[in-house]
């Protein structure tokens, strides 16, 4: 009996990915609607592609790992304290903080080189850190929920967690960035 069937991959994948593509369109609409706010703060435009990419990557890592945990039986699909998940949560947070430091450094360096209006590195770091830490928490919770629900349903969580988590991260990332834009604008 084969573990993987092309038919199941197509069926489960098309449901999950079509949903994620539609959800992702909302992230685009959201950013498009507030484009003036973003244009007024050039550093946010410099950060935008990298920050969106980072949120997707964190979502991808979390989704993939949770699916593997479920397959291996290291994590059972119910809400309880689990040493593997706890250790993994700490690892994801560490990656998020380290990447934020690196990303802030790149963005500040790039805007000095391009001669964009003066920015305070600390303010940028605060925005990036706040975004990446909250994204990681959300990615983790959504990844666990999506993995548990699909696994209980008899589907392969590998097919569903990544599209669901990355699309959620994109929408939340866009919202956080706009929030940051309005906060920076006020200060």
């Amino acid at each position: 009996m084969a573990y993987y069937k092309a038919k199941d991959i197509v069926k489960q994948g098309s449901v999950a990915i079509t949903t994620s593509v539609i959800v992702d369109c909302f992230a685009g609409v959201l950013l498009n609607a507030k484009i003036e706010a973003l244009l007024s703060i050039p550093i946010l435009l410099v950060l935008l592609p990298s920050l969106m990419d980072m949120t997707g990557d964190i979502g991808c890592m979390v989704g993939s790992k949770i699916a593997t945990f479920l397959h291996l039986g290291l994590v059972r699909p119910r809400f309880e304290k689990n040493p593997y998940l706890m250790r993994y949560a700490v690892a994801v947070m560490t990656v998020a903080v380290l990447t934020s430091l690196y990303l802030t450094f790149l963005a500040v360096a790039a805007s000095y080189l391009l001669g964009l209006s003066a920015v305070e590195p600390l303010k940028v770091l605060a925005v990036v850190l706040a975004c990446s830490v909250s994204i990681s928490v959300i990615a983790f919770l959504v990844g666990i929920a999506a993995g548990f629900v699909t696994f209980k349903h008899g589907w392969d969580p590998d097919n569903t967690t990544i599209p669901i988590v990355t699309a959620t991260c994109d929408v939340v990332g866009a919202m956080l960035l706009l929030l940051a834009a309005s906060l920076i604008g006020m200060i």
Binding site: S14, D53, M54
Partner: protein, 175 residues
């Protein structure tokens, strides 16, 4: 660590997009499909890498580059899924244009554009993802941690030239 290296490469995708400006004007509606196309590319590649990682961890697929039933089912599934979703995104882009009152280059053109770009980019992604996932596992590293960021970034970098290439093919065919 893989995060840091990949972050620097992400910029290449943006440079590719900037150089496509002329083609984007030639094919109205193409811009609309780009975010959806990139999300689809990342998700199809990401789920393939995720399944392969789980299968390697479980011992269902051996960490060697050889033909097996499980691996070929995975690849066939990924390919069919990609064809369906690419075509769907092309059609979706056309209807989004109609809905928001933008100019569209037509249902058939956008459908073919997404389909051709989807197939070309998918072949590259499937090939690279399968080999890299197995090689990484052989080296004793965890593909779950490395492949996610790698595949989504690779998808972004490859998708844009593939859309560009598909547009050139359509232009040469006179559509």
């Amino acid at each position: 660590m893989s995060e840091l290296v990949i972050r620097a490469f992400a910029i290449a995708a943006g440079i590719g997009l900037a150089s496509m400006k002329g083609v984007l004007e030639e094919f109205p509606g193409m811009m609309i499909m780009i975010p959806a196309f990139l999300q689809m590319r990342g998700a199809v590649g990401g789920t393939l890498a995720s399944r392969l990682s789980s299968a390697l961890h479980m011992g269902i697929i051996e960490p060697r580059l050889k033909r097996s039933r499980e691996l070929s089912q995975n690849l066939i599934g990924t390919f069919v899924l990609n064809v369906i979703l690419s075509g769907l995104i092309g059609c979706l882009a056309h209807f989004m244009c109609l809905l928001f009152g933008f100019k569209s280059s037509g249902l058939l053109t956008l459908f073919l554009l997404a389909l051709i770009a989807g197939i070309i980019s998918n072949l590259v992604i499937m090939f690279v993802t399968t080999i890299t996932t197995i090689k990484i596992y052989q080296r004793g590293l965890d593909p779950d941690v490395i492949m996610g960021p790698f595949v989504t970034t690779l998808g972004d970098v490859i998708s844009i030239p593939c859309l560009f290439l598909a547009a050139l093919i359509l232009m040469a065919a006179g559509i």
